[in-house]
């Protein structure tokens, strides 16, 4: 009797359990890091490497499970782990603001968890047509997705590519160590413009002072690597930065429209009160324009999903895609969940909202959630950068306006939006990885659905736990917490939540730069990438742009095959090298009580 053909392992108990365990551990760790340092991290590459060690190394090597740790099984493991831990950023950027505003005891934590879970599901639902649109039709690069695919494919990719991956990794490791705060051999950012002014004996004032003062270059290899992977497609992002800092900024200063200041203060004032708010407006307008321009493609994408489902039914099999029915049911379900959350927070227990306002808030939240998902998916697809906190700020501003200043409801919706957009960005990267290694999109989306509730619950639970770790069961983090006031090593300043707290106070007092948002939205036809470039500091945009130009130059000289064979593994190594080195340094710092 012939031996049965071995099964190709994809969704397995081992892969799912390992993914969930890694996801939970990474979520708890990243909540702590987010409260300490103010930024989020992605766990995809960590999960993929651990997957190799445990699923393939232990499963195949030690436990002798035939075929254990296959490329697609490890992809499911990293999809689950990153799908869970992505909620940590969404929670840390928003929820702690309620605690810092002294509202503990006034909100229902279960409502906030429910909003987070609804956001998490909706993030996955929105991705169903966007996967076709952005990965298949627009062919966006998703640099981190490509980097993780390179790790997953490394066992069969040949020694040359493995060496290039290693070279990129080693270079990024050395540079990241050299620029890290504790070692500091090289500055993290090169203040090119300031050097020129010093050499020429110029004063950092006026239009030229701003153009040069704002010109700096981040030595981030992940940033450069993302540019390398994006090539020509990322050029609008680089051009947007140049437009902002070399044209608009100097013009407004030259006209005398900017606040009276010089040097860093001038750069900060123009960036904070002019360029960044207009950039946020362009992001919103660009997303709207993108939806209109992409409408025929989205219709084609949905048609293609429908025909794939039909063909699979006729053939008696299952489609590789989730059907459009899931999209419709998911959108309705998310709307109902957001409506319920708004109803509970806004009308029950003496809430002051009317049923009409509750309906409007739920509709606006659902629409904004979808639009923000598109913005993040596009931005992260082209640049690897996702403006999560900015989009959450807009959601909260919008909700404060619609509800007449209902802070708890606004932040609750902000939690949902921030988690949803994070989920969109992560899912798109995972699906790009899947596309490159031959994973089945439907399977990836199904496992992400299955675990989508875990991340918000863990992240909110850990945040509350850390808050209650303070004296008297409160004030465990924030600038006013005892640990931070006394500058103790355990201080968790929660910088993003503090910004949000100040922003909420500002909006309630009428300080939000709504005029800049409106102006930016009106010129939003420029696209999401130009808006993102104005929203971010120039040092990031410039480093990325140099990566794009380098890739274009290499392609022109060596051809596009060289890009695939040499540049992609090298750039993947740069991205993974910096991410893992920074993660390790952060962990060491936290264990040592530094930072």
């Amino acid at each position: 009797m012939a031996a049965a053909a071995p099964v190709y392992r994809e969704i397995t108990t081992a892969g799912v359990v390992l993914g969930v365990l890694q996801g939970v551990i990474l979520t708890a760790s990243f909540v702590y890091i987010g409260l300490k340092l103010g930024f989020g991290l992605s766990g995809s590459s960590v999960a993929a490497i651990m997957g190799f060690a445990l699923l393939r190394g232990v499963g195949r090597g030690v436990l002798k499970i035939p075929g254990a740790g296959s490329i697609v099984e490890n992809n499911i493991n990293q999809t689950i782990a990153s799908g869970i831990n992505t909620a940590s950023s969404g929670v840390v950027f928003t929820f702690p603001a309620l605690l810092l505003l002294g509202m503990e005891g006034q909100f229902n934590v279960w409502t906030i968890i429910a909003a987070g879970v609804a956001g998490s599901f909706m993030g996955i639902v929105v991705i169903i047509p966007l996967r076709k649109q952005l990965i298949e039709i627009e062919r966006l690069r998703f640099p981190s997705g490509v980097a993780v695919a390179t790790i997953l494919k490394s066992p069969g990719a040949g020694s040359e590519k493995a060496i290039l991956l290693g070279v990129g990794f080693a270079f990024a490791l050395v540079l990241t160590l050299s620029t890290s705060g504790s070692i500091g051999l090289i500055p993290e950012t090169l203040s090119i413009g300031n050097w020129i002014m010093e050499a020429a004996g110029m004063e950092p004032v006026g239009a030229m002072g701003l153009a040069l003062g704002g010109t700096a270059l981040s030595l981030s290899m992940a940033n450069f690597g993302a540019g390398l992977l994006s090539g020509k497609g990322g050029l609008p992002f680089a051009l947007g930065g140049m437009l902002a800092w070399w044209v608009i900024g100097p013009f407004v200063v030259g006209q005398g429209w900017a606040p009276e200041a010089s040097g860093e203060e001038l750069v900060g004032a123009v960036y904070g009160s002019m360029l960044r708010p207009v950039g946020i407006g362009i992001l919103i307008g660009g997303a709207f324009a993108g939806v209109v321009a992409a409408f025929p493609a989205l219709r084609g994408a949905i048609k293609s999903l429908q025909s794939a489902a039909k063909l699979a039914k006729q053939g008696g099999g299952t489609s590789e895609e989730l059907s459009p029915t899931v999209l419709v049911v998911g959108l309705i379900g998310s709307f109902i969940a957001l409506f319920a959350v708004t109803y509970v927070e806004g009308m029950m227990g003496g809430g002051e909202l009317t049923i009409g306002t509750v309906v409007i808030v739920a509709i606006a939240a659902t629409l904004w959630l979808g639009l923000a998902g598109l913005i993040v998916a596009q931005a992260t697809g082209a640049t690897d950068i996702s403006p999560l906190s900015g989009l959450a700020l807009i959601a909260i501003t919008l909700m404060l306006g619609l509800t007449g200043g209902h802070v708890i409801l606004a932040v609750t919706i902000g939690v949902a939006v921030c988690i949803a957009t994070g989920q969109c960005g992560d899912m798109m990267h995972d699906l790009k990885t899947g596309h490159l290694i031959g994973g089945v999109p439907r399977k990836q989306q199904l496992v992400q659905f299955a675990v989508a509730w875990i991340g918000p619950a863990i992240a909110i639970g850990v945040t509350l736990l850390l808050w209650k770790g303070g004296p008297g069961g409160m004030n465990g983090f924030g600038p006013e917490s005892p640990a931070c006031a006394e500058r103790l090593p355990g201080c968790l300043p929660a910088p993003q939540a503090e910004v949000l707290q100040q922003m909420i106070t500002g909006v309630l007092e009428g300080d939000a730069p709504v005029d800049k948002y409106v102006a930016g939205a009106a010129i939003g036809g420029l696209g999401v990438l130009v808006g993102l470039a104005m929203y971010l500091p120039f040092e990031i945009t410039l480093g990325y742009g140099i990566g794009c130009l380098t890739a274009m130059g290499i392609e022109r000289v060596k051809g596009y095959r060289y890009i695939g064979n040499v540049v992609v593994p090298l750039a993947a190594g740069l991205i993974i090298g910096e991410a893992l080195t920074n993660l390790t340094l952060t962990m060491i710092k936290l264990i040592g009580g530094g930072a």
Binding site: K132, R299, G300, A308, L436, I437, G525
Partner: protein
């Protein structure tokens, strides 16, 4: 003419963005809210009063230049339709045929006996021929229209994914999965080619 459209667009972008960033603060206590509080509407009206005319002119130039540029691009695409080729000299249809031939040439039967040979063939498809096909992406969108392109590229992507899956399965030592995936890839490629041909036939009859 295209150059003119481009520079009108660029000038429009610069003018609208510069005037969009113009600060027009409303003094505290001078707003229309309770006790003179500044409202969002106050901020928008104050900025509009200070920048309306140049900002609007900039937006109009941007939109006008953009639309004109797109129109000229469309005309250029239409006239260049016949001579559509890549650096290798092949159009998208020919590249799809080359991919099909490459897949057909892979060793048949038990792939476990010829893993390296099959992987090399799959590598050629994924790393050389697929990027060559995608070089025509913009052109195909212009010729086929976004909706038809979306339907065709959906099938093409299914072919790509299954080819990549075959590569992964061979690396993982599961040739039976690779065989199934290659068959699926071939079917998806045929469907993509059919969608491409249908669209090309439609375009030809429309132009005739």
């Amino acid at each position: 003419m295209k150059q003119l459209a481009f520079w009108v667009f660029v000038a429009g972008v610069i003018i609208s963005a510069c005037y969009g960033a113009k600060l027009a603060p409303v003094e505290e206590g001078a707003g229309s809210g309770p006790d003179g509080a500044v409202t969002p509407t106050d901020r928008i009206s104050s900025w509009w009063d200070a920048a309306a005319m140049p900002f609007s002119v900039g937006v109009l130039m941007m939109v006008g230049g953009g639309l004109l540029g797109r129109h000229i691009d469309k005309l250029a695409h239409a006239s260049a339709h016949e001579g559509q080729v890549s650096a290798s000299g092949d159009g998208p249809g020919e590249v799809m045929d080359k991919i099909g031939k490459e897949l057909d040439q892979l060793p048949a039967g038990n792939l476990g006996d010829s893993v390296q040979e099959v992987q090399a063939g799959l590598d050629r498809v994924l790393e050389e021929l697929v990027p060559e096909f995608l070089l025509h992406r913009t052109r195909m969108i212009a010729d086929m229209g976004l909706e038809h392109f979306a339907e065709m590229i959906g099938q093409f992507s299914s072919f790509e994914r299954n080819t990549a899956r075959a590569w992964s399965a061979l690396t993982d030592g599961v040739p039976s999965e690779a065989e199934v995936s290659i068959e699926r890839a071939k079917v998806a490629l045929v469907q993509a080619k059919e969608a491409f041909d249908r669209s090309a036939a439609g375009a030809d009859s429309a132009s005739a």
